[in-house]
Symmetry: C2
């Protein structure tokens, strides 16, 4: 199965990368940009074929390595 994982900063956590992108877009002349937030997108190909077990495995990966749950949220979609 393929797991598609989004890791994003929680609301209220300062996002300097997002702010930098917003400023750069502004300098390039793009108008009407209100807020920019940057996160991570991770795709993992798993040998596991059972969706329930795959989700448990990916949840554990997110909690242990991929996301810092103090400041980040994550979401997982499974495919295939």
């Amino acid at each position: 199965m393929k797991a598609k994982i989004h890791v994003t900063l929680k609301r209220g956590v300062l996002d300097p990368q997002g702010k930098a992108i917003g400023s750069a877009l502004d300098h390039l002349g793009f108008e009407g940009v209100e807020e920019v937030r940057q996160g991570k997108y991770i795709e993992i190909d798993l040998r596991e074929r059972d969706p329930t077990r795959a989700r448990e495995q990916v949840d554990a990966m997110c909690r242990q390595l991929l996301a810092n749950l103090v400041i980040e949220d994550y979401s997982v979609e499974l495919e295939g």
Copy 2:
């Protein structure tokens, strides 16, 4: 409108971040991880309300700043 943008490395382009995540998962004891690819996920809140104009604007942002089209692909979803 909100634009949700994924920027991912093209197939065949070496992904050292993805490889590092794969090794780390392996060291943590996760089995059955075949391939890991890491990309960027960017959310932009736009004042623009017209979907066609918003898409043109975001396409231009991706080409000029957010994606390096030599090695990266991007995809855009609009909401709201």
